[in-house]
């Protein structure tokens, strides 16, 4: 019951956030010089004032600002994000077409970086002076310092050019027509390098975090209790310690999700991955405002949903949060 109330509350907060993004979008659209009538006039090589007024009326541009805003909200609620004159397509269609590729990239990068990061962190924490521990330290330094595009290019040089294990770019091999399982394998094959590039920063982050929190937890009283009960080393480390050590990792995973989304833009560009990032870059170059704002809205949506999921996951792992309602978001 309480779980439901809190979840609903969080959903409300998420909606509020999205609304704020929409208001921002709307204002940006209006701050930009010129409107639809201007651009049509430009295309037509000039129109007289009467026709311009008619067009403004048709598009509702003569209405008061707040009314236009409400209309905008209403159309967004119906998943209508406007029309891209550059692509000659509704923005929503354009985005939905690219969204799966981006989701595949960011979700796989997130999952892989958490898994690898936590495993490295745990091994490092169990032997704080061991090889893995030093490896984690070096990895997090390099992972932090290296820009994403540099890592991407290095991986391309290494694993696509010098040792040609993986394709250089794109999501599928266009020279061969594939369906079903073969298609999936092809996509995964293309996914490896961009996913690793994106994951590299976050592997560095999570492994360092997991190492620190695991070290902390391994020295705690309840782990000593678990030892005193005669549990196996596996149970002590992976049941009693890890569950607690994961809490800060989960929190951070939620916090950095927006970082993954923006990292994806760069990675998609480097690997010409046909997702929202590539679309965003093209739209920016073409000054295609409706598309840019649509992408902004959709990436906020992705981040908000990811944060909601993180929050729920956290509440499942840590029983203290479930009952003791906390005020912070």
């Amino acid at each position: 019951m309480q779980f439901l109330v809190i979840t609903l509350k969080r959903c409300g907060l998420g909606l509020g956030l999205l609304l704020a993004v929409l208001v921002l979008n709307f204002l940006l659209m209006h701050l930009a010089p010129g409107d639809v009538a201007d651009s049509i006039a430009q295309d037509a090589g000039g129109l007289d004032a009467e026709v311009m007024a008619q067009i403004r009326k048709d598009y509702g541009l003569d209405l008061p600002l707040w009314e236009q805003m409400l209309k905008y909200f209403y159309s967004v609620a119906q998943l209508d994000l406007g029309y891209s004159f550059y692509y000659n397509q509704p923005v929503t269609t354009l985005i939905l077409e690219k969204l799966p590729a981006t989701l595949l990239l960011i979700i796989s990068a997130q999952v892989v970086s958490i898994l690898v990061g936590v495993v490295l962190g745990v091994i490092a924490a169990r032997k704080p002076n061991g090889v893995t521990s030093h490896f984690v330290t070096i990895l997090s330094l390099v992972g932090y310092a290296a820009p994403v595009f540099w890592t991407g290019i290095m991986l391309i040089i290494l694993f696509a050019s010098m040792i040609p294990l993986f394709p250089i770019g794109n999501m599928v091999d266009v020279s061969v027509e594939r369906t079903g399982f073969a298609y999936m394998v092809d996509v995964l094959h293309h996914l490896v390098l961009p996913m690793l590039t994106l994951a590299s920063i976050f592997i560095a982050l999570y492994s360092r975090l997991a190492r620190a929190s695991m070290l902390d937890v391994l020295g705690s009283d309840y782990v000593r209790t678990a030892q005193a009960k005669g549990l196996s080393e596996f149970q002590v480390v992976f049941k009693h310690a890890l569950r607690n050590a994961l809490l800060p990792v989960v929190t951070t995973a939620g916090l950095v999700f927006s970082g993954i989304v923006s990292g994806a833009v760069l990675v998609e560009t480097v690997f010409s991955w046909p997702g929202l990032g590539t679309l965003a870059v093209q739209a920016i170059v073409a000054r295609d405002t409706p598309t840019i704002l649509g992408i902004l809205f959709f990436s906020s949506l992705v981040v908000v949903v990811a944060n909601l999921l993180t929050d729920m996951l956290y509440r499942i792992i840590d029983p203290r949060i479930k009952t003791a309602e906390t005020s912070e978001i």
């Binding site: 009283d221 309840y222 000593r224 030892q227 009960k229 005669g230 549990l231 009693h240 569950r243 203290r320």
Partner: protein, 334 residues
């Protein structure tokens, strides 16, 4: 008397910045089946280290058992391998810690934490272990055990958590229960309840108890025999009644004088409450070849600074390590 647990010449060393120091220095004592023995001494005397040594849980590094033996029913635990020790811990010897607030895992229900021990050592199924856990919660007088079993530690008070710890420690009916200052973190009223409980449940399960404390009052209340420790060494040992009535080591006398109600009368020479001047020496001084209590002792003589005090067997059950033993006839309250 055949000892159930026998600690012989145990020395535990810690590597510190100032070199190697013996946290436990040549310690020996026996524990009989079903008996309650108290380890008493001020903070930093090595009581917890003794307990951890028996459990095979000395943090290493920096700690190391340098010499001696710890035998449980004839088996030397210091020679036992890791697998064997994991089978002993929680099953034959179990331990209750000082900090009930942090000693339970916050992310598992108390039921799970009790029953996992049962499943591990007794090979019970989930259902059997759960039923037995409820019984244990009932035995430690937690109301509504069928409901409480699904609670998480944060939903319980400190006293309740310590009861859960005791239930967990006694679930497998161990031969030895080590309670390391089990009531220090609790209210005085709760302390009395926990002691009553430990006495009752200890008797019920026939566990021998090692009660670690710094308070002679708890010793008087709970224990049959007492080992007094100072700076890693045993300085006096005996039956509680003898020790309270006729402490022979100046330090023991000091500890008793700290607890006013143990003194039968309060006289002019002996004011209400005494405290021992000074404090326990730092770890780096442990192992000093003289009496470590000398800087604080009112009976100190030259020899005390030069030679480690010899153990004097006063009666078959009482012994003390001191060059200038307190006269037997001088009672603390005289």
């Amino acid at each position: 008397m055949t000892a159930l647990l026998s600690v012989k010449n145990l020395t535990v060393e810690f590597t510190t910045r100032d070199g190697i120091a013996p946290v436990i220095d040549d310690l020996s004592f026996d524990l009989a089946p079903g008996e309650t023995l108290s380890l008493v001494g001020e903070s930093g005397c090595g009581k917890s280290m003794t307990a951890l040594a028996i459990m095979g849980l000395i943090p290493s590094p920096p700690g190391r058992v340098a010499s001696g033996s710890i035998s449980l029913a004839g088996e030397n635990l210091l020679q036992a391998g890791d697998t064997r020790m994991r089978a002993v811990r929680g099953n034959d010897i179990s331990m209750v810690f000082q900090e009930p607030m942090t000693s339970l895992n916050p992310v598992f229900t108390v039921g799970e934490q009790i029953s996992e021990t049962l499943r591990r050592h007794q090979g019970l199924t989930r259902r059997q272990a759960k039923a037995l856990s409820i019984e244990m919660l009932d035995a430690v007088q937690i109301p509504l055990p069928t409901r409480r079993i699904n609670d998480y530690p944060h939903q319980l008070s400190g006293g309740m958590r310590q009861r859960v710890m005791i239930a967990m420690a006694l679930a497998c009916r161990p031969k030895v229960l080590i309670a390391d200052e089990p009531t220090t973190a609790l209210d005085v009223t709760v302390q009395a309840q926990i002691f009553d409980l430990m006495r009752a449940v200890g008797k019920e399960t026939e566990a021998a108890i090692i009660l670690i404390t710094h308070d002679m009052g708890s010793v008087a209340e709970m224990a049959e025999r007492v080992v007094v420790m100072y700076a890693g060494r045993k300085i006096e040992e005996g039956c509680v009644d003898d020790i309270l009535a006729r402490p022979r080591h100046p330090y023991t006398r000091g500890l008793i004088a700290c607890v006013p109600h143990l003194l039968e009368t309060v006289s002019a020479e002996r004011p209400y409450l005494q405290e021992i001047p000074g404090m326990v020496p730092p770890l780096s001084d442990f192992g000093f070849m003289g009496c470590l209590f000398a800087p604080r002792c009112d009976r100190v003589e030259t020899r005390c600074w030069q030679e480690k005090p010899k153990v004097t067997q006063i009666t078959p059950s009482q012994s003390a390590a001191c060059w200038n033993l307190q006269e037997a006839k001088v009672r603390v309250d005289a």
